[in-house]
Amino acid sequence: MIFVAVGTHYLPFDRLLRRIALLIETQTIREKVVIQSGTSTFLVPKAKQKPYFDFDQFNNLLRSARIIICHAGPASIYQSLSFGKKPIVVPRLKKYGEHVSDHQLSFTKELAKEGKIYFAASHQKLVNLLQTYRSEPTQPPVKNILAKRLLDHINSLTHG
């Protein structure tokens, strides 16, 4: 199963959904497709599509997907990694009205450089990534040192 997630941002991401529709039509994708489509209005034929899933359903989809294709939202990416799946990322771009800035593009490039995600920079690259996808072990989640230090700081304010 391929799970596609566009996140909860208020702007739509129809461009990604049109690409998925094309991939299904041209049989680059031949397995079940489930899509979390947010505010996007394009309906992908032959796919199960819902604007949002609740937290548990979303996690179940991440867990059972063979491949995850997502926008460059930190939650989508890190949740995929926490389930051991290296996601294929298509960043939202400001010029298409998909986000308020291009920070997703720079974030994607940085993570791709670190080998944490696959960056589908073009439709052809997306095709290539899908055709050659092999699951790779992902790094274990970073220990939450920040939470501990912040808790210590908050506690120090009580006594301050």
């Binding site: 996140g7 930190p74 920070h103 808790l151 908050i154 304010l157």
Partner: protein
């Protein structure tokens, strides 16, 4: 110690949620938006709803400032904590005026350029945290204590 957790939906909420070790044993309430992931993740939490949309929306920023005064005066938190986005500056400003301690965490995905929220609140908050040492380039007086993700 009562905490006020202010957050936009999506990754901002998710990053603040990852900090649960530092808020789960404290009295708290949230300020966010009526979005599906907020309803799902915060279903057992006390939530006030801010005015939406908030991103780069000056009029709603002003409305949220007056809403912040009302909420903070009623709840009297000791700390206001946020990882953005546009809902944070009005609440930080109100908190500052009311003498409430403020903590901001720059989201992890702004590695190559600073976020607009970060730029607005940098000189306003008591504690400004980045999640990647590279972000110190934009906010030299910030602290890096690790990452939420």
């Amino acid at each position: 110690m009562k905490l006020c957790l202010v957050t936009s939906a999506g990754g901002h909420l998710y990053q603040l949620w990852q900090l649960s070790p530092c808020w789960k044993n404290n009295k708290r309430f949230w300020v966010s938006f009526a979005k599906p992931d907020v309803h799902s993740l915060l279903k057992k939490e006390k939530v006030y709803y801010a005015i939406y949309p908030e991103s780069r929306h000056l009029l709603n920023g002003i409305r949220n400032f007056f809403l912040a005064i009302k909420i903070l005066a009623k709840e009297k938190p000791r700390i206001v904590l946020s990882a953005g986005a546009g809902v944070a500056p009005p609440f930080f400003l109100a908190a500052k005026l009311m003498g409430i301690y403020t903590i901001y965490i720059e989201p992890v995905d702004f590695m190559v350029q600073p976020s607009l929220t970060g730029k607005i609140v940098y000189k306003l908050v008591n504690l400004f945290l980045v999640q990647n040492p590279r972000q110190l380039k934009f906010f030299p007086r910030a602290s890096y204590w690790g990452s939420t993700l």
